[in-house]
């Protein structure tokens, strides 16, 4: 294939969004890490200098990917997947502990985090398996295999502990839903989560009353033409109540205190104001500081390099997981809204790209990429603005971290490469 035709075929709009996010991200990394050293813009001893170096590395990686033959990823998907699973298992023996999690291989000059790699290879594996001509997602057996491909790495990373990555694997369920996995699989967990949360907030008694009231309401307003069988509803309610009871039990006896505290804070379970305050100053310190920093930005923000809380390093990990709080403080609502809009448009654009793929593998991998990026974005920003409990996970293209940037870039550009070849493959 010729370079010229590649330039015409590649999706420049996606690249535009990508460049924009990396650029804005780096600007904010510059602002958050400037205080620690006052060197030149590209001084590699500084964090923003290092990040700049990794942006360069990522650009090289992009060229490399664009010149690899398209079929390579599809062909070797299973092997990649197996290798990553082996690497994940190997962590139990040879893992290096960094920041409380045994998620790394120390390679001397570089620390490799196999769970990052596994995100991409799992996406590839799911796409590969589902696009196989013999696979039918409507069959129970294939459903189980597909789910196993996703759940296996998740189970392996949970003990590290790395719950964030585990959630990322589960996001690949979006690919399954797109390919026809009944929504039943989405609705049931959602109902269970809702039951769990409402039980914690209101207690089993009120949940029971609510469910019965809901059932009575539905039956009293139903039209005569619609028949709702009484027995399954009854069984459903009984199961729900049992689940609600077990939720309490799990919360009190299986969860550790730190988990309980996080829930207490998130759902405002603790009624004692002083205790809640205490929790929010300790466990919730990050969230508290980041909310305050964002709030203090107001509409227009304090201006580039003018964020007082950013400069004072009040928000921990503000150049990595909490980078968005610095956007909020220095650029205000204008900045945060812009970033949210860019991400949203970017994701929608990628959905469009995925849907226009002529071959199933491309579409499925595309969905995998979107799911992975999207779940990072939801959990990260949700955590920073105080909507979700604290789960350490970076904001794609934005947060400081060389391997993270490189990984997200490769993940994305493999898809863009597939997309650029979609017509060729179709012929």
């Amino acid at each position: 294939m010729s370079g010229k035709s590649l330039i015409r075929r590649i999706d420049w709009l996606s690249i535009f969004f990508y460049v924009l996010l990396v650029f804005i991200g780096w600007i904010n990394i510059y602002s958050t890490t400037l205080g620690e050293s006052g060197g030149s813009l590209f001084d590699f001893s500084t964090l923003y200098g290092k990040q700049f170096f990794f942006i360069g590395v990522s650009v090289l990686a992009v060229f490399f990917i664009l010149f690899i033959e398209t079929g390579f990823f599809e062909r070797f998907a299973s092997i990649f997947y197996l290798v990553s699973i082996v690497l994940l298992i190997g962590l139990f023996l040879f893992g290096k502990k960094i920041g409380g999690a045994t998620s790394w291989y120390g390679l001397g000059f570089f620390n490799l985090q196999p769970s990052e790699l596994a995100k991409m290879t799992t996406a590839l594996a799911v796409a590969k398996y589902l696009s196989d001509i013999q696979t039918d997602i409507r069959k129970r057996k294939d459903q189980i295999y597909a789910v196993l491909i996703i759940v296996l790495p998740a189970i392996l990373v949970i003990p590290q502990p790395d719950p964030g990555s585990a959630l990322v694997y589960f996001s690949l369920f979006f690919v399954l839903f797109r390919e026809g996995l009944p929504l039943f699989y989405l609705i049931i967990p959602l109902i269970l989560i809702a039951l769990f949360v409402t039980t914690l907030m209101f207690g089993t008694v009120w949940v029971t009353i609510g469910l019965v009231a809901l059932a009575v309401l539905v039956f009293s307003f139903k039209k005569n033409t619609v028949k709702i069988p009484l027995l399954p509803v009854f069984i459903g309610i009984v199961i729900s109540i049992l689940f609600s009871l077990s939720a309490n039990f799990v919360f009190e006896n299986v969860f550790e205190q730190r988990h309980r505290d996080r829930f207490s804070l998130w759902l405002r379970l603790e009624k004692d104001e002083a205790k809640l305050e205490q929790i929010s100053k300790t466990i919730g310190y990050n969230t508290y500081q980041s909310e305050k920093a964002i709030e203090s930005g107001g509409f227009f923000g304090k201006g580039f390099l003018e964020g007082t809380r950013t400069k004072g390093d009040f928000v921990p990990a503000q150049h990595t997981d909490y980078i968005f709080s610095s956007v909020g403080e220095e650029w205000g609502f204008v900045g945060t809204a812009t970033v949210v809009i860019i991400f949203t448009l970017f994701f929608l654009r990628l959905v469009v790209l995925a849907e226009r793929q002529k071959n199933d593998f491309g579409r499925m991998y595309g969905y995998g990429v979107i799911s992975i990026l999207f779940i990072h974005y939801v959990i990260n920003i949700g955590m920073v603005i105080g909507l979700l409990p604290t789960i350490g996970i970076p904001l794609p293209f934005f947060s400081y971290g060389g391997s993270g940037l490189l990984f997200f870039t490769i993940l994305l550009f493999v898809f863009l490469k597939l997309d650029s070849n979609r017509l060729k493959e179709g012929i």
Binding site: G35, F174, S296, K311, G312, G332, F333, G382, G386
Partner: protein, 622 residues
């Protein structure tokens, strides 16, 4: 459906995020949050508080350095605690508990270990301090009083409280603020404006440079010095004379309304409210509910004015044209209200204005009072006219001085008596006591002095004030330089002043004349009562005296009010006479009189109602 699932979730999440962000950044945002921003620390640079001088440029209040021993717990190295405590002059247990407190407050920030060292301690410590890491000495500025008098006039400063902080955003916890007197009234001028530096902090509260390169920082503005109208020598002299007596003295310069001295007895040394013993002293003064040293009697006490008030009734009579200086009333050692006789000590006989005043004849003024009311169809109209005249002398209302406290006194009017007696059930005879300054009228010593100044000026006065110069400028509030006219025409004053001059020549004060100085004055003897076990008990009369001198071109107008000092010429008259001489001549020639006044106290009078035994009042010997 399955194609749209992810897209719709993306959009829903986007909208949710935008909602949460607008809640945080648009609704919760408050623009003055720089005040609460933990990342910005304000460091203040305090200017020196302005000095206070008297009318002759004598220093009254200055500043003195004080030294606090500070500690930064984290920087403290192991030390010989015992020798360090000996050096500081504190107990070891005290040291340990203070160190603990400091560490709890903050290991990284300085706390006060020993406040306000004396200069001597400081000199001793200074050399050895460098051997103790983590400790240092911080200089502060405290008020220094170059006089032991005028405490109530000067006022004191103390740390701002919660209420001050809410009322005025200028103040920050720990700052000082004028609480009473001049310190309060001229707080803004004396205080100056503190400079502020904004320092960017990190989360460990360490400085990491100036915020916005110091664009918001300001330099301190020096406090201005203030010159008062007070005469330091006269003030100090007056307070010495008040030794052992309760009451108030106010002296004014009639031609300007400047307050020459304002004395309340008992008083206290203003230095008591400075330094390490401040709060113990304050408690002692504040809770002395019998002598009330912090209650400024010169402006807060509202006794009946007594006989000096007769001069005003004479003036009103003349102005209304119901009497002239020749008009005579006969005194039957008293006068009759209906069938009831009211007494008089003037000796009886026919009285005209001159002798009525200098002999202080009650019958004469009762007659004048009746005539004033007789001029009008109704009592209501009469009292309206009378009240209006009285109020024009600055009585019955706040004078509008620059002393931050005060009382209005009372000139009873129509509404007052309608409420007191019922509408239509009172007449001039009912309220006849007002003619001789008893009854319902009440005035503070300041009001009496001002009334005297208005007589001295023959019909006008200036609002009394304590301020003379601010900084280098002579301009003071224009309300203090505006003439306030009374309702009495100038020509009516001469006969009254003649009577008041004769008070010294032939009358109730002839024993306390001052050689070479012509004084016009009026004595007052005010009956007063207290309650002991719910029973109304009469106490020894209050001694009141007002005077101005010289009669022509007066330099000083004075009012003296001495609680339970018996008749007017006794304590009040003596003190007034000595004060006038002191002010006009610079020193006192009548040393016997002076010695007597400096030594005599009225403590035995004040003890009477608390003795629990029956007691005599108005004892003649003294």
């Amino acid at each position: 459906m399955k194609k749209l699932l992810l897209s719709s979730i993306i959009i829903i999440i986007g909208v949710t995020f935008m909602g949460r962000l607008s809640y945080l950044q648009l609704f919760s945002f408050s623009p003055n949050q720089i005040l609460e921003d933990p990342a910005i620390k304000k460091v203040y640079d305090y200017p020196e508080r302005g000095y206070i001088y008297d009318r002759n440029g004598e220093l009254l209040v200055g500043n003195q350095p004080a030294y606090d021993v500070m500690v930064i717990p984290r920087e403290v190295q192991p030390l010989d605690t015992l020798s360090f405590c000996n050096l500081l002059g504190i107990e070891k247990s005290d040291f340990v508990s203070k160190m603990k407190k400091a560490r709890i407050y903050s290991p990284r920030l300085p706390s006060v270990l020993v406040p306000q060292l004396s200069k001597e301690d400081y000199a001793r410590l200074q050399e050895k301090m460098r051997h103790f890491d983590g400790f240092y000495i911080q200089k502060r500025s405290l008020r220094f009083y170059d006089t032991s008098s005028a405490a109530n006039v000067l006022g004191y400063i103390s740390e701002v409280n919660e209420r001050d902080l809410q009322a005025n955003p200028y103040y920050v916890a720990g700052e000082l603020k004028g609480r009473t007197g001049v310190e309060k009234q001229y707080e803004d001028i004396l205080r100056g404006r503190k400079g502020v530096k904004h320092i960017q902090k990190d989360r460990f509260n360490r400085d990491i440079g100036a915020y916005k390169e110091g664009k918001l920082d300001t330099l301190p503005e020096q406090g201005k010095e203030v010159q008062l109208t007070l005469d330091k020598a006269l003030q100090e002299y007056g307070e010495q004379l008040m030794h052992g007596k309760r009451g108030g003295i106010v002296a004014l310069e009639p031609s300007t309304g400047e307050i020459l001295s304002m004395i309340s007895g008992p008083t206290y040394d203003p230095s008591l409210l400075v330094g390490r013993k401040r709060s113990a002293n304050y408690t002692k003064l504040h809770y002395d509910s019998i002598a009330k040293p912090t209650w400024d009697r010169s402006i807060l006490a509202e006794p009946s004015p007594g006989s000096p008030f007769k001069a005003l009734n004479a003036l009103v009579g003349l102005q209304e044209g119901v009497i002239d200086s020749k008009t005579k009333f006969t005194c039957y050692n008293g006068f009759y209200v209906g069938n009831k006789k009211r007494g008089c000590h003037c000796g009886g006989g026919v009285r005209n204005m001159n002798s009525g005043i200098f002999r202080s004849c009650n019958a004469y003024f009762a007659g004048t009072f009746r005539k004033i009311f007789g001029k009008y169809q109704t009592t209501d109209e009469g009292i309206r006219v009378w009240e209006n005249h009285m109020r024009s002398f600055g009585l019955g209302n706040y004078l509008g001085t620059d002393i931050p406290t005060g009382r209005p006194g009372r000139i009873p009017g129509e509404a007052f008596y309608d409420k007191w007696y019922g509408n239509g059930s009172w007449a001039s005879s009912t309220i006849i006591s007002n003619s001789i300054g008893q009854g319902e009228v009440a005035a503070t010593p300041l009001q009496l002095a001002n009334m005297t100044a208005a007589i001295a000026n023959r019909g006008y006065f200036f609002t009394p004030h304590i301020i003379k110069r601010i900084g280098g400028s002579n301009t003071i509030d224009s309300k203090f330089t505006e003439i306030r006219y009374t309702t009495i025409d100038k020509e009516h004053f001469e006969p009254v002043i003649e009577g008041m001059t004769n008070v010294y020549k032939y009358g109730t004060a002839k024993w306390i004349r001052i050689p070479e100085i012509q004084i016009a004055g009026k004595t007052g003897t005010v009956e007063n009562f207290t309650r002991i076990d719910g029973e109304r008990v009469q106490l020894t009369d209050h001694s009141v005296f007002v005077a101005f001198a010289p009669v022509e071109n007066p330099k000083i107008a004075i009012a003296v009010y001495i609680e339970n000092g018996y008749y007017g010429a006794r304590y009040a008259g003596h003190i007034a006479s000595l004060m006038i001489e002191k002010y006009i001549k610079g020193n006192v020639t009548r040393k016997d009189l002076e010695k007597k006044m400096l030594e005599k106290t009225l403590e035995h009078e004040y003890a009477k109602p608390f003795s629990g035994k029956p007691f005599k009042i108005n004892e003649y010997e003294w």
